[in-house]
């Protein structure tokens, strides 16, 4: 009985182990699985690496990836995506799209706290996100 009291009183004078979240951020581990993002093409960092093949669409267990469209620009062998819609509300971050992508154009982002007021807030167009990131960097 008394041993238990000893444990709690000792714990009381030990430093706290929690971190005060909004004020104090923890490092996100490099393999953290946020929602997926498009990576830049290996040869040309200005455009995204997605070739709009649709393998991820077919492999997604939850049908979260939709409306992939691409165009073939002049002087290039393969298509480049112009639209890539991810419905994050049904995504379970399994990573099958990341693994099956033939051009290694998909990776997990470190976006750990997406928040919104309606479902549509989580319908991302990854091509647009990619362009946004490119501009900000």
């Amino acid at each position: 009985m008394l041993a238990g009291l000893g444990v709690t009183i000792r714990a009381m004078f030990q430093p706290v182990v929690t971190s005060q979240y909004p004020r104090q951020l923890l490092a996100i581990s490099p393999r953290f699985r946020g929602h997926i993002k498009l990576l830049a093409d290996a040869d040309n960092p200005d455009k995204n690496g997605c070739i709009a093949c649709g393998i991820c669409v077919r492999n997604c267990p939850s049908g979260s990836i939709k409306d992939i469209e691409g165009e073939k620009r002049e002087g290039e062998k393969r298509k480049t995506a112009t639209s890539y819609r991810l419905d994050f509300t049904t995504c379970s971050q399994c990573g099958i799209c990341v693994e099956t992508c033939p051009s290694n154009a998909i990776d997990f982002s470190a976006d750990y706290n997406p928040a919104g007021f309606k479902r549509e807030d989580f319908h991302y167009d990854l091509v647009k996100e990619f362009e946004k990131r490119k501009k900000s960097s």
Partner: protein, 524 residues
């Protein structure tokens, strides 16, 4: 053992052909096809031989329905599959619930998903599904429910008696950890009967499995048991690997063991905290979360997730572990070894805790067998049965560890078994770390589209809650024809009504907690 059972079963059934099967491929040693009468004879035979009924599976082969009964033994590895063919137009079978208590719920499940009528079953009412289902969901062709079927299925209505009343323990109740509802018929503070009502988290994972490829089903198992996600992930990949005959590199096997055992500790820790919270002590809950965070940090660095892991792949791992993982795991082992003393002082040595749990919810060995309970509950009852030893997958066969067992089978024993299991898990991790070989973590030449050869497999792994059995029927396509998940909490919950009867309300909470249930796993 197998030879002996084959001969004796053959004699008991008289003239039924009993085939020996390749255990490595099928997961069972013997199989036979029985008629309803022979099935009952076989069940009685296995009951007398001290076997338990591991699972009942129904498979719809379109031309006929097949009931698959898996009988297994706690002390020796000898599994038998008994099948019974049914007419799909009017499926009916004899009930085994009088012989094996665990059949009671399995048969209810099959009744509601396939429409099989079990003659003599005392209560064939809805188990998971409630109002609003028009067809039997797992039939391959649409079979509508007749009105009398609906009426029969919806027959469960709690009735208050003269001196009794009903108390709902759940579904929104703090002590059921998830959404389990138990209807308690109370006489004052004493429980006259308890009836669990399931299905609040039912998502029909088994149907989902039939509609997606093996690869696409990967994220699902970890959503069934979110606390032992790694074990479920392991069960799924090892089952499919066994079916397809994929060999996994040594390094991957070792990492699988480490990750699964880390997850087991984290699951047991959470159980410890939640159980104490059930009993009214809230501080251990926060202490265990402190420890759990360390595990989560270590696992997050390699798997990318903290709870619903999806780390193993057919033929290996999602990605390799690094030095930081090994260092982190070693640091955790060091830390955890020092924490057991603290828990012993705070919980195990506390007179109030001991008085609350000693002699409560006693499970005798015989009852444990009849209800086919497994995992720490079974070991708490004194039966040293662990799938990691009995049917080792991954690198478990190379690990040296002992199986902690209880003596009285009460809630206190369950506590002690789980705490000691955390210790053995640490031992296993240390051994696996010591012999972690270099090399690839992914088998070469794993086809992109897995198309296992035709056949079935009953594969088991030990999850933190007990025996997980996966029964897969493959028809050579890239999707399982049938995938049945025999989940440990389902069997463990079945014994609850009997344990609760005649006890106080407070004891019911203590017993329910000692079974360590994860409701989404039961509901699937």
């Amino acid at each position: 053992m197998v030879e002996k059972i084959k001969a004796e079963l053959g004699a008991a059934l008289g003239g039924v052909e009993i085939r020996e099967t390749e255990y490595r491929e099928r997961g069972y040693h013997l199989s036979c096809e029985a008629s309803p009468g022979e099935l009952l004879k076989a069940a009685r035979f296995f009951d007398e031989c001290g076997f338990y009924l591991a699972a009942i599976v129904c498979v719809d082969y379109r031309e006929y329905l097949e009931l698959v009964y898996i009988f297994a033994n706690h002390s020796a590895l000898c599994k038998t599959k008994v099948t019974l063919k049914l007419d799909p137009a009017k499926p009916a079978a004899p009930t085994l619930s009088a012989i094996f208590d665990c059949a009671y719920w399995h048969e209810r499940e099959i009744r509601e998903f396939y429409g099989v009528l079990f003659d003599g079953h005392p209560n064939l009412t809805y188990l998971f599904l409630h109002e609003g289902i028009d067809a039997y969901p797992l039939r391959k062709e649409q079979v509508l429910l007749a009105d009398e079927d609906k009426k029969a299925l919806g027959a469960f209505r709690p009735e208050e008696g003269e001196d009794t009343f009903f108390v709902n323990l759940g579904p929104q109740h703090p002590s059921t950890h998830g959404v389990l509802r138990v209807v308690l018929k109370m006489d004052g503070e004493y429980i006259q009967s308890a009836e669990p009502v399931l299905g609040y988290l039912h998502r029909m994972h088994e149907k989902m499995a039939e509609n997606r490829s093996y690869l696409q089903f990967l994220p699902n198992p970890s959503r069934m048991d979110y606390l032992g996600a790694m074990s479920f992930n392991l069960g799924h990949v090892t089952a499919v690997e066994r079916l397809c005959g994929i060999a996994v590199p040594d390094r991957a096997n070792c990492v699988r063991v480490i990750a699964t055992e880390l997850n087991r500790i984290s699951s047991h820790l959470l159980w410890l905290g939640a159980y104490l919270a059930d009993l009214g002590a809230l501080t251990p809950f926060l202490f265990v979360f402190d420890d759990r965070e360390q595990i989560n940090d270590v696992l997050e660095a390699v798997t990318g997730s903290r709870l619903t892991y999806c780390y193993f792949r057919f033929g290996g791992l999602y990605n390799d572990v690094d030095e930081a993982f090994i260092a982190g795991t070693k640091a955790f082992i060091e830390r955890m070894r020092g924490r057991f003393g603290l828990y012993e002082k705070l919980v195990g040595g506390n007179v109030i805790f001991i008085n609350r749990t000693r002699g409560i919810g006693v499970i005798e060995k015989e009852r444990a067998r009849k209800y086919a309970v497994s995992g720490p509950v079974l070991r708490g009852a004194g039966i040293a049965m662990d799938m990691r030893k009995a049917e080792p997958c991954a690198a478990y066969s190379e690990m040296d560890f002992d199986i902690p067992v209880g003596t009285r089978g009460d809630a206190l024993d369950m506590y002690r078994v789980r705490v000691r299991e955390m210790g053995t898990a640490l031992d296993i991790i240390e051994q696996a770390l010591a012999r972690l070989p270099d090399g690839p973590v992914m088998a070469e030449k794993v086809p992109k589209k897995l198309k296992p050869p035709k056949g079935d497999l009953y594969h088991t792994v030990e999850t933190p809650r007990g025996e997980l059995g996966i029964y897969i029927v493959s028809d050579e396509s890239d999707r399982p024809y049938r995938m049945k998940w025999r989940v440990p909490s389902f069997s463990n919950l079945m014994i609850f009504p009997e344990l609760a009867r005649g006890n106080l309300l407070a004891d019911a909470v203590a017993i329910l907690g000692s079974l360590d249930l994860v409701i989404p796993e039961i509901d699937r």
